[in-house]
């Protein structure tokens, strides 16, 4: 068996287990830590796909900034205590799993199953993910969406501050 395949299998296994952990753990802190593991493994996969800059961005933005935000909110709301919000014992989890499995089965049958026959190697150039190439594309072809994204982030900052500052009642 191919070494590449084995490494990918191990990383995919860890990512899948961590994804299940995010949903299954009752304690939100554990869910958050599982999410960190998942994002970290995804960054490895990005590196393995030669998308170096996006791998670094994944670690910086997701495992760095976004997860810190999540943990801050969990601490502020005191959601870390497991008894804070026990999940009800009803039929909802079972129904959710059935719906999810149905969705996965449908997409796998319609999209993945026909693709399994082809074993085409990657066609993009090996240096397609270097900072140089991404920066050049981002500031020439995609300059307008880039500026719009910055406006969106600005609106997000202003909105978050407004929501956090408002005194209710």
């Amino acid at each position: 068996m191919d070494t590449n395949l084995m490494v990918f299998g191990a990383m995919a296994g860890i990512a899948c287990l961590a994804a299940i952990g995010v949903v299954a753990f009752n304690n939100p802190v554990r869910s958050a830590l599982c999410l960190v593991v998942n994002f970290f493994v995804l960054a490895f996969i990005y590196f393995a796909l030669n998308a170096q800059l996006l791998g670094i961005t994944q670690i910086l933005v997701y495992t760095g900034a976004i997860m810190v935000l999540f943990l801050f909110v969990i601490m502020l709301l005191n959601l870390g205590a497991p008894q804070a919000l026990m999940e009800k014992r009803d039929s909802k989890p079972l129904l959710g799993v059935v719906v999810g499995a149905g969705l996965a089965g449908l997409i796998a049958f319609q999209v993945l199953y026909p693709m399994m026959a082809t074993q085409a190697p990657p066609r993009a150039a090996n240096d397609f993910g270097t900072p140089e190439n991404i920066g050049r594309t981002l500031f020439t072809t995609y300059a307008l969406p880039f500026e719009l994204a910055s406006v969106l982030l600005l609106v997000g900052i202003v909105g978050a501050i407004l929501l956090a500052k408002r005194r209710i009642g």
Partner: protein, 114 residues
């Protein structure tokens, strides 16, 4: 990762997306629901990158392969930007709701039900 066929990467993305979707349906804690949305966005990012790297469409050739590879990565960057803004605003809304009602159970929130 040359020996890995495209469908395996897509299968991982599909699994993560469906796990996230199940979490959004099942969980009652809004912070965990946000985490599941992040999981789904990351699954989409992985799919974009896999398609960008492999460029499997037979209609693409030469320069078009490079363009499609860059377009996939640009989508990932913009998804990350939108996710960051969404998390900041969403967690702010959760904080505001918590201050108003002192509880954060999604099943109990029905103020917008008309």
């Amino acid at each position: 990762m040359t020996g890995v066929p495209l469908w395996m990467l897509l299968a991982l993305g599909l699994f993560m997306f469906c796990t996230g979707a199940v979490g959004v349906i099942v969980r009652r804690n809004p912070v965990v629901v946000f985490m599941c949305i992040e999981l789904m966005l990351n699954a989409v990012n992985l799919t974009f990158l896999a398609f960008a790297r492999y460029s499997p469409s037979p209609m693409l050739s030469g320069e078009a392969v490079t363009q499609s590879a860059m377009a996939g990565q640009m989508m990932v960057i913009f998804v990350m930007a939108v996710a960051a803004a969404e998390v900041a605003v969403g967690l702010g809304i959760i904080m505001a709701i918590f201050r108003l009602r002192n509880e954060v159970d999604l099943d109990e929130m029905s103020a917008m039900q008309g």
